[in-house]
Amino acid sequence: MRPLALGVAALGAFACAPDAPGRDGNTAMSSAAAANNVEWPRSFQIGRDATPAEVAALDIDFGPDGAGAPPGSGSVAEGKIVFDSKCAVCHGATGQEGPNDQLVGREPREGFPFGETRGLRRTVGNYWPYATTIFDYVNRTMPMTAPGSLTANEVYAVAAYILFLNEIVPEDAVMNAQTLVAVVMPARDRFVRDDRDGGRVVR
C-alpha cells in the first residue's frame, strides 16, 4: 500500500512514454503502431481518473515496509479469542492439527532443510520470511468462508497470537503497524532470488 504521493503535483513532472512494447516474436502481430503506420497518441483518452476514494478502498496490501498499514492493534490474548472462534476449525486448536495448513511449528530448529528433505511441513514459524504477510493474507483471504469480515484490530490480534504460538513474540506482545514490521522472522534470510537463466546449466 502506498499513499498517493504522486498526485496532481507530480503530473507533468515526468511523463513516461515507452516505445512500442517489446516483443519476442511469438505471433505474427507486431505493435499496432508498426502494423498500420499510425503513430500512437500520447494518450488514447480511454478510461477515467481513479478517485482517491476508490483507490483507498482497494489498496489493502501490507508489505514489509509497513507503508500504508491500517491503524489499530491487537494483543496475543485478544488474538486467541478470534483464533479459537474463527480459525481453529480449519487450522486446529493450536494451529498444528489441521485439516488445512499447519500454521505453527518451529521444527526443525537447526538449518533450513526443506530442499534437502522430503515432506517437511512449512509453517509460519519455520518458513515465512515476513510477519507482515500474516496480516496481509489474513486480511485479504481469511476466514475462508467470510474473507474481509475481520476488523484491523482482529487481524493484528490474530497475527500476534500466531507469532506467539510460534515462539517468536512473548505472551504480552501487542501488534500494530510498527511492531509487526519490526518482527524478525526466523527464516528471514533464507530466501534468494532466482538464478536460473536458461542455457546449459540446470539449476
Binding site: C16, G22, A50, L58, G115, L120, M144, V192, G198, V202
Partner: protein, 415 residues
C-alpha cells in the same frame, strides 16, 4: 436423441468421473458412448439434423477434465492424452482456484492502475477492449505441474494428465499491459507491479515491471471467445512462459511500486526450497519440458507394428529447438519431428514413428529450447535442487511399454 437422455447419460458419467479413477472414467465414457451411439446411428439416405445456434461435440467424443471431488480450493487437469494439436479447448483448460470461481458482472467490472504512476486510472471492460489489441498463442502451466513425477518411487499407474495436466494452451486476446502503463504514465522508478484479483482470496502477486513491459497482457479473449469464468472472466493477467499462479485471474488492480509486496503466494507458497538451505523466490519462468502423451498409461498397444509416439514440449524462455526420443531407455536418442507452428512460450507438438517389435521398451522424450537448455533427468534435478524442493518439476518422463502392450509410468517401483 432428446436432451433429457443425453443429460442423464452425461450426469451418470460425471458421477463416475468424480469417483476419480481414470480407468473408471474411460469405462463410463465407453458405456455412455455405446448407448448414445445406438440411439444416433445414421442410416444411409436418411436426412440429417438441422442447423443449430451452438454446436456440440460428437456423442462419442466427450473428453473431461481430470479431477477428484469438486472443491473451491483445488484444481482440475486438462486431459492432455485425449487432445490433438496444441490448442486446449477452453472448457478443458486446467483450473486452479484458491477461493472458488467468482461470478463477476462484466458491466460493473473495473481495473484500477495506481501507485507510482502519473495518473491513477480506472478502466472498464469496454475500455480495455477499445485499446490497441494483441493476440498470441501461449501456454499456461501451474508451477506445481509434474510433481507426481518428482519422486524416485512414483506410482506406475499414472496417466499423462495426472502428471502434467496442469498445463493448457490457448490463443489469448487482450491489451498489452505496456499499453496501459503507457496510458497511466508509470514512473521510471517503478520496478514491481502488485497484481490483485477479485476472487474471494483477493489473490495477489508481485510482478517485475520488466516483464509487464515485455509481453504481459490483460486478456479478455480465449480461443476466439470471452475467457471462461474459470480462467478469470472477464479479464486476467497473462504472463507468457511464467508460472500460472502469477497470472492473476479476475484482475481488479495493478499497483506500481519499487519493491515486492511479499504476499503469501510469493513467500509461503510458490518458493522453491533448495538443498543448500535457501529457498528460491520469484522463480517465475517455466523451464523447458516435454512429455509423451501417446502411448502412455492407461493405453495398451493392441499389436506390434508401426505406431507414432506423440507428445508436447514447451519452454517459458522461448522456442523449442528440438525434442529427442529414446525407445531403449536412453541408450540411443533420435530427433523427433516438430510440428509447425513452433512458437515461443507455447506448446509444440512432436512425433516420432516407431516400429514396435513387441518387446519391452522404455520411451522418453527430452526437450531443448533456444537458450540451449536441455530438459534434465530426475537425478540431475535432485542433485541441483534436493529431493524436498517444490515446484518447477521439469524432469524427463519415462514410459515403460510391456511386452503385452500395456504402458506404465516408468520411473517408480516395479518400473
Amino acid at each position: 436423441m432428446g436432451n433429457v437422455s443425453r443429460r442423464a447419460m452425461l450426469g451418470a458419467t460425471g458421477g463416475l468421473i468424480a469417483g476419480g479413477l481414470l480407468k473408471t472414467q474411460v469405462d463410463a465414457l465407453t458405456m455412455a458412448n455405446d448407448a448414445l451411439g445406438q440411439q444416433t446411428e445414421q442410416v444411409g439416405g436418411r436426412l440429417g439434423g438441422p442447423t443449430s445456434v451452438l454446436g456440440e461435440r460428437a456423442p462419442g467424443e466427450q473428453p473431461r477434465r481430470v479431477m477428484g471431488a469438486p472443491a473451491v480450493t483445488s484444481s482440475s487437469r486438462s486431459p492432455i492424452e485425449q487432445l490433438r494439436g496444441i490448442i486446449t479447448p477452453a472448457d478443458l483448460h486446467f483450473e486452479r482456484h484458491h477461493a472458488g470461481v467468482p461470478a463477476i458482472d462484466p458491466d460493473r467490472y473495473e481495473l484500477v492502475i495506481h501507485g507510482m504512476v502519473d495518473r491513477p486510472m480506472t478502466f472498464t471492460l469496454d475500455d480495455l477492449k477499445r485499446f490497441p489489441s494483441e493476440s498470441r498463442i501461449c501456454f499456461v502451466e501451474c508451477s506445481g505441474n509434474g510433481g507426481a513425477a518428482y519422486n524416485r518411487n512414483a506410482p506406475a499407474d499414472r496417466a499423462p494428465s495426472q502428471i502434467d495436466g496442469l498445463f493448457s494452451t490457448s490463443e489469448w486476446s487482450g491489451v498489452l499491459v505496456s499499453t496501459l502503463l503507457r496510458e497511466v504514465g508509470i514512473s521510471r522508478d517503478a520496478t514491481w507491479l502488485l497484481a490483485e484479483g477479485s476472487d474471494a482470496a483477493l489473490m495477489a502477486r508481485s510482478i517485475p515491471v520488466e516483464k509487464a513491459m515485455d509481453d504481459a497482457m490483460i486478456a479478455y479473449g480465449q480461443n476466439g471467445e470471452a475467457i471462461r469464468p474459470e480462467q478469470g472472466y472477464p479479464a486476467r493477467l497473462l504472463l507468457p512462459g511464467w508460472e500460472g499462479n502469477a497470472q492473476v485471474k479476475w484482475i481488479r488492480r495493478l499497483e506500481a511500486s519499487d519493491r515486492p509486496s511479499m504476499t503469501r503466494e510469493e513467500t509461503s507458497k510458490y518458493t522453491d526450497p533448495l538443498a543448500d538451505g535457501t529457498s528460491r523466490q520469484f522463480s517465475l519462468v517455466m523451464d523447458a519440458k516435454s512429455t509423451i502423451t501417446f502411448p502412455a498409461f492407461p493405453y495398451q498397444l493392441p499389436e506390434r507394428g508401426w505406431w507414432e509416439i506423440r507428445g508436447l514440449a514447451w519452454s517459458g524462455r522461448g522456442r523449442i529447438t528440438g525434442v529427442e526420443i529414446t525407445t531403449d531407455g536412453g541408450r540411443s536418442w533420435m530427433p523427433a519431428q516438430l510440428q509447425e507452428p513452433v512458437l515461443s512460450k507455447c506448446a509444440t507438438r512432436f512425433r516420432h514413428v516407431w516400429n514396435w517389435d513387441g518387446s519391452e521398451a522404455l520411451l522418453m522424450s527430452r526437450a531443448t529450447d533456444e537458450t540451449g537448455y536441455v530438459q534434465p533427468d530426475l537425478e540431475t534435478l535432485i542433485a541441483a535442487r534436493g529431493e524436498g524442493t517444490a515446484y518447477h518439476y521439469n524432469t524427463i518422463r519415462p514410459w515403460r511399454v510391456q511386452s503385452d502392450g500395456r504402458v506404465f509410468f516408468g520411473q517408480g517401483e516395479g518400473a
